[in-house]
Point group: C2
Chain length 333, copies 2
């Protein structure tokens, strides 16, 4: 559990693309961010109040979150200066960088001296159990994709936000680095030891109120040969009651796999549902989330209408048109 609120560290991010994590926090958990801290030459601006470490501390910030990817996998001297000063002032640090805070001797020393915590969210810190498959109370929704990076996290976050707005009981359950930094907790599933993957998802989505929904962040794809085992653990460990199919219609091949075509939505539906029903015989496919960012408005609307008619399920782009109809579908389960 990462302590909130955060000060978002943008460092010397060359552009907004590099600040994906910070943008996610600003968009989905605005209450978690008291401000932003940039270094000279920073090309990203979240539109939050620019604050020094001292000003943010005054405003209540508990954790300095590295909201930006670093260049060349090295934590630079300029970054180090800020990070060490933050620890000296009583901040915790949180990072999803590949190179870990805990591998930097000076950060470890400063954290020890000043009683701060270094959160490397890429690395599991919990000894997860082996999955036991026992039916849990409460309800769970999992987004599954025809491919990686088609909008599964966005879909789950948008549905969670809509449900909160409606006063429904819901929790977004993060399974990747960005999601964990946004919400402050979760399971970095891609870094979990094989035998404990499904168990980590059972741990993440425990018994809950009968009318509570966990919106589980999907990972990979059952059709992506590099990561399908990770997806499978979500399908079986998550015990979903509802599946949302996610798709990006302009992609010509599976991400990173030039020889592999994307499956159809029908193939995804049949494969994912059959496997999900092993863990939960009542599981249903309730809706389709399409990432239409590479289509114009007219083409997007036309494509969604075509998919909706063909599949007999609500098909929406939650970014363009909101997640309302997906939540309606979930509410009807």
């Amino acid at each position: 559990m990462i302590e909130t609120p955060y000060l978002l560290f943008l460092g010397d991010a060359p552009d907004m693309l590099a600040a994906k994590v910070a943008i996610g926090i600003r968009d989905w958990r605005p209450d978690h961010a008291v401000g932003q801290l940039s270094l000279p030459g920073c090309g990203a601006d979240l539109g939050l109040t620019e604050m020094s470490l001292a000003e943010a501390k005054e405003a209540g910030a508990k954790t300095l979150v590295i909201g930006v990817a670093n260049r060349g996998g090295v934590i630079s001297a300029a970054w180090k200066e800020v990070l060490i000063k933050a620890l000296e002032m009583g901040y915790d640090l949180a990072s999803g960088l590949h190179n870990l805070l805990r591998d930097e001797g000076d950060l470890v020393a400063a954290a020890q001296t000043h009683g701060g915590t270094l959160h490397d969210v890429r690395v599991p810190t919990v000894g997860y159990p082996i999955a036991n498959g026992v039916k849990r109370s409460g309800k769970r929704c999992l987004a599954v994709g025809t491919d990686c990076s088609v909008g599964k996290m966005y879909t789950a976050l948008a549905m969670d936000a809509e449900m909160q707005k409606r006063g429904m009981k819901s929790t977004f359950r993060a399974t990747g680095q960005t999601g964990i930094l946004i919400t402050g907790h979760g399971v970095p599933l891609d870094a979990v030891i094989a035998d404990f993957m499904a168990g980590s998802i059972e741990y993440l989505t425990p018994d809950n109120d009968d009318d509570h929904w966990d919106l589980i962040e999907g990972q990979g794809s059952l059709f992506h040969v590099s990561y399908s085992g990770v997806t499978m653990a979500l399908v079986h460990g998550g015990q979903p009651d509802a599946l949302i199919l996610c798709h990006e219609p302009t992609r010509e091949h599976m991400r990173g796999l030039p020889g592999y075509k994307l499956p159809s939505l029908e193939q995804l539906r049949d494969t994912a549902l059959g496997l999900a029903q092993v863990a939960n015989p009542d599981c249903k496919v309730v809706g389709i989330s399409v990432n239409t960012q590479h289509l114009g408005e007219e083409d997007a609307v036309k494509y969604l209408a075509e998919v909706e008619a063909r599949m007999g399920l609500p098909a929406v782009d939650p970014y363009r048109h909101g997640a309302g109809r997906l939540v309606d579908a979930l509410d009807a389960v």
Copy 2:
């Protein structure tokens, strides 16, 4: 790569069941074992020559393999005495125990002093790549099960032995501790980090001669919610050309999951084949291996005939009747 031949350490094994690893080596790689070493009170006997460390060394043994499960997860003082003496005499040690040799300070010290290697086969020692899904040359066969522990390793080892006898090109590819100790190398898949599972299997089964078969040891089951992600990585990372379905007909529920029924062989066939064809569109299901140990000979023969007629595929128990017909089926692919 563990250096062969071995001296098999039986310790104070209470019975033969505890000596599963040593039995596997004796049965499948008899040339790897120069003899056995028991402690007082040992209730297991492999029928190999009982040898002291010195006698086995004289006979050429390079590695002392712990062929027995220990009690209570502790390496006892009596074991330690033998293990340290072995290191002093120039042996390497190999173990599949949960508690690692490398975590025992005195073993580490002795290994360093005498230049020996401690092989803990539960722990990956290779930095595996992310799977790239590129089609590899040579052929691969994967055993998939309706459940865990239904005879997948036995089936692959029996097919490999039969192929060797026929002069066919084949390699058994170990993916679990016992298999790794039997053959001296492999991937401890259940201990691999999620993101690298499929890549570890690509690494294990590289390009090969067009008429060479890898017999890949299966793990878990696509229908076992605790481990299905591991199985999925084998199906996609292994790129199998041929699948063998494995089944144990008397089991009343999935191993360790009282609420879960086993799938039918038809369900296994359809699910495994559909997923395998994502990575290799030419994949076929070629045969069925049934573990009939809990059936009498007559019931076993009757059951196999019934399955064979129903599924239209050769159905055999390789333990009772040999793996010949499964190899015939593979040879016809």
